[in-house]
């Protein structure tokens, strides 16, 4: 059998030592009526070679559009340097458990410490944890922290926050964790409207920057008004990359920055595994979920790292813990740590700038394209809402797919008022020729219909 080291002689010796003569006797503890008397109904076992052929066949039935890809909307295609894969496939990182024995886990612990540090540096906040499941659950975690801190239970979330994140918040709200209301956005600029919606019951206001419509919110102004009402400000960050150009939310006073670091070092991989991060002010430190690594000394005075403030966690506090999280996304956080180290200050800034330049070029071409308009005037970063010929959003994407182009995200299902709109994304990987091919295809589509 695959992966089993036992020879018949080994098995015999082991069974004899425990006083048995067959493997089946090991199951006699299970009441007879519960023992499965038939084989599991699973497809037949494949050899390793056959497994590869079978999976290659499955993978080939997915279209990945490596030449011309304009889909973002919460998952972003960036370049992943080879060193990221090399490190993440290192046995000692890949096959280690949570660093509960610190002397034998200094590599993982220091890498987490560096991840926490990088997230703090980019978000401008004082504390970051060792990762949570994804950008959506990070926002929920942040909201729970804010409710606990303010002892309030009303949550305002902008409609310009990722619709899937809002769905997730609704799941928790329906279960009674808090009450949830949505904030409109300006149909002209695409920026969140806060007027008259704040009151002393509001625990936290959830914004996203850049927001789901690609627009950069006026963070300093919104945060100031949120604080005036005594609520906390949570800024969701859909792509860590954008912090190469934009200020971290901490710099303009946000209390929590919760987001998705997939774009920094992790592949699209059909939606996971990704890596959520949660950063906050030091005032909120003891309320946050998840693991934290701290610096300390060993018995000889040498620098070392260990898990700390564990009295917040489930394995110590059980039902009094700040969260139930145990496994997180450590290896994905490692990918992000290596990625940010490789790109460094200049690389991340350049990548974010190129994404903005490429988006600007696409915008300038679409502005001149008959039949297409740009309904939102607010400042953008790497995504654009484009209004396409009426009733044609889905047809357009099919047309583009036939041209070998991955179109953008049709907004109609989440935003009925934007039913003819598609969200296009450019990253630093988008080439001028690809942009021009997209625009050519958009023109042909308009002419054909």
């Amino acid at each position: 059998m695959a992966y089993l080291p036992h020879t018949p002689a080994d098995r015999q010796r082991m069974l004899e030592r425990i006083g048995l003569s067959s493997l089946e006797e090991l199951t006699e503890i299970i009441p007879s009526q519960l023992r499965l008397k038939r084989p599991l109904d699973l497809p037949p076992a494949l050899s390793a070679y056959e497994v590869e052929r079978y999976f290659e066949g499955l993978a080939q039935r997915n279209a990945t559009f490596s030449q011309g890809h304009f889909l973002g909307a919460g998952a972003y295609r960036h370049y992943i340097p080879a060193v990221v894969d090399t490190i993440c496939q290192r046995s000692e990182f890949l096959t280690a458990y949570t660093p509960y024995q610190p002397e034998a886990s200094q590599g993982t612990l220091q890498a987490i410490f560096e991840f926490q540090s990088l997230i703090c540096r980019l978000t401008g906040l004082e504390v970051a944890n060792a990762s949570v499941y994804d950008g959506g659950t990070a926002v929920v975690d942040g909201v729970l922290v804010a409710c606990a801190q303010t002892r309030r239970s009303r949550v305002l979330v902008s409609k310009a926050v990722n619709p899937q994140t809002r769905q997730l918040l609704k799941t928790y709200a329906a279960n009674g964790a808090f009450s949830l209301q949505e904030l409109d956005y300006s149909p002209q600029t695409g920026q969140t409207l806060l007027d008259g919606r704040l009151d002393p019951q509001v625990a936290v206001v959830v914004l996203q920057i850049p927001n789901f419509l690609g627009i950069v919110e006026d963070g300093p102004d919104l945060v100031e008004r949120i604080h005036e009402a005594g609520a906390l400000a949570l800024v969701a960050i859909p792509d860590l990359h954008t912090l190469g150009l934009l200020e971290g939310p901490g710099s303009y006073g946000a209390d929590l920055a919760c987001g998705e670091a997939q774009g920094a070092g992790n592949p699209l991989s059909f939606g996971g595994p990704y890596v959520g991060f949660l950063a906050c002010t030091s005032k909120l430190m003891r309320r946050i979920p998840g693991r934290l690594v701290g610096l300390t000394e060993d018995s000889q005075g040498r620098r070392g790292y260990c898990l700390t403030l564990q009295t917040r966690e489930q394995h110590i506090r059980r039902d009094k813990a700040t969260s139930n999280i145990c496994s997180n996304q450590a290896l994905c956080a490692l990918a992000t740590t290596v990625y940010l180290s490789l790109l460094g200050a200049q690389g991340l800034r350049a990548a974010a700038k190129y994404a903005w330049q490429n988006t600007t070029y696409l915008r300038s071409l679409i502005a001149q394209l008959p039949g297409y308009t740009l309904p939102l005037s607010g400042p953008y970063c790497q995504e654009l809402v484009v209004q396409v010929p009426a009733g044609q959003a889905l047809n357009l994407n099919h047309f583009l797919a036939c041209e070998g182009i991955q179109g953008g995200y049709p907004l109609g299902e989440d935003y009925p008022e934007l039913s003819d709109c598609i969200l296009f994304c450019c990253t630093e990987l988008t080439r001028k020729a690809e942009i021009e091919e997209l625009v050519t295809a958009l023109r042909s589509f308009k002419e054909a219909y």
Binding site: L71, A75, T95, D134, T137, F270, Q329, S341
Partner: protein, 477 residues
């Protein structure tokens, strides 16, 4: 200096990997961010060459113990071999470069994989439907408890209590609390299993659910499990299966047949996907009967025109963005396809064999507070060693690290004093088990407490001042 961080190795102006230059015409004006939103300077990231970065992280990796380098008998964690075949399959570009919002018609390979895995996990656990969304075991628990809460709400039943045994994983009560329930802890019987009288006395119209691990965290099969489930059902309560210990039961017995209503599995334990230093995991959740309609959406369904996403009629909604930790699902499916039904059953049988063999080798030198045939793991105690020689479970753990083995889980389950919870898994050969037993026996018979307090001596650091870390938290640089 020891343990220098990447920040301390940074040199201003040094470049690592640069992105491809943008080849579009330069915009005529700079970005028009709102005031205070644009970064004035480059972000405060380290600056190193590519080789510097590679060496830094390879150097860090060398400070870790791992399954690929050491025996790692961490109880309840199922640190079995993580096949490299799985890694290669998850790295196929057709998977890694697939955008989660692709048109499902253009992602049929991925959807077929997810559908097949849902079906297989349903068969393995005896559940009718499975969601692959939860990102980890604890996330699965929370998901299931929210499903149960929604189910009771739909019936107008106010059940706000969840029962957990005192031997349970910490995530069980934490998940129940996070899902809005009050937690009631059930004392275990003298044999470590569920105390039927205590259970019956706690059941009533307010109890929503009993959360149970089977085999228990002591590694013993809950022999009265059918009666337990029947008793709960008679009082209108549901029974939840914490799948942490499913590696004992593949193809041997199914939670659904025992009477459990919902389960979670840990693909990163039972189905061989690597733990990655703490994640990513994957915690699929299965349900039976009316609970199926409340599962989070979307699930993958099979229709006339191929595979598609669908959301159950009374779904609690999403529990994460997108569809699940897909890359982990690929690895688990590669494992199941390679082993097939006979291979999975053999894996569990040999996991039980290895645990019983090791228990036999160690039960003289250490206390075995709950004797008898174990399943895939067993729990020893250093209680006597502590009394006689001052050697605690923690000292045993550090002595093992010094001898080149990862330590067992210590101080869990909470009902065992000075607990050492050992799960050898099926992928370790008999020589490794014997070498480990030898090290455990040496520690028990030859070591002094004074000597062990110095352990581990040959690792990158000796024992750490954890109190200092908590008293004066330094969490970043």
């Amino acid at each position: 200096m020891d343990a220098q961080t990447i920040f301390e190795k940074s040199q201003p102006g040094r470049l690592g990997v640069m992105p491809p230059l943008s080849d579009v015409p330069l915009p005529s004006q700079p970005p028009m961010w709102p005031s205070g939103m644009g970064r004035q300077e480059a972000p405060p990231l380290p600056e190193l060459s590519e080789l510097d970065v590679l060496r830094h992280f390879v150097g860090l990796s060398q400070k870790n113990y791992s399954v690929d380098t050491q025996f790692y008998p961490l109880g309840s964690c199922t640190m079995k071999y993580n096949p490299r075949l799985n890694e290669r399959m998850a790295a196929l570009p057709g998977f890694t470069q697939l955008h989660p919002l692709s048109d499902p018609q253009q992602a049929q390979g991925a959807l077929e994989l997810m559908y097949s895995l849902q079906e297989a996990l349903g068969e393995i656990t005896g559940m009718e439907a499975v969601t692959l969304q939860p990102a980890a075991g604890a996330h699965g628990e929370l998901t299931a408890l929210m499903v149960m809460a929604a189910y009771f709400r739909s019936r107008g039943e106010e059940r706000h209590l969840v029962l957990v045994p005192d031997s349970s994983h910490g995530t069980n009560p934490a998940s129940a609390a996070l899902a809005g329930f009050q937690v009631v802890t059930l004392p275990s019987a003298a044999n470590g299993l569920v105390d039927m009288l205590a259970l019956e006395s706690h059941l009533g119209p307010q109890v929503a659910c009993l959360m149970l691990t089977n085999p228990s965290t002591l590694g013993h099969f809950e022999t009265q499990i059918e009666e337990i489930c029947e008793l709960c059902h008679r009082h209108g309560a549901l029974v939840y299966y914490d799948g942490a210990n499913m590696n004992a039961l593949l193809g041997l017995a199914r939670p659904g047949d025992m009477g459990f209503d919902m389960v979670h599995l840990n693909l990163h334990k039972t189905f061989s996907t690597p733990h990655g230093g703490g994640g990513p995991g994957s915690g699929p959740v299965g349900a039976r009967g009316p609970l199926v309609d409340f599962l989070p959406g979307p699930l993958v369904a099979k229709g006339e025109r191929g595979y598609h996403f669908m959301t159950p009629s009374q779904s609690i909604g999403r529990v994460r963005t997108f569809w699940g930790n897909f890359g982990v699902l690929v690895k688990a499916w590669a494992y199941i396809r390679h082993l097939g039904a006979p291979g999975l059953k053999a894996a569990s049988l040999h996991a039980i064999l290895a645990a019983n063999y090791l228990q036999e080798l160690l039960k003289e030198a250490y206390d075995l507070p709950y004797p008898g045939r174990c399943m895939h793991e067993f729990v020893l105690s250093a209680h006597n060693l502590k009394a006689e020689k001052g050697i605690k479970a923690l000292d045993v753990a550090k002595g093992l690290l010094e001898r080149g083995f990862h330590a067992p889980t210590v101080y869990f389950p909470l009902i065992v004093e000075e607990a050492l919870m050992i799960e050898p898994t099926e992928t370790e050969d008999v020589e490794t088990l014997e070498a480990f037993a030898q090290a455990m026996l040496e520690i028990a018979r030859q070591e002094t407490a004074e000597d062990l307090h110095q352990a581990p001596r040959h690792l990158p650091v000796s024992r750490l001042d954890e109190a200092l870390a908590a008293r004066r938290p330094v969490l970043k640089m």
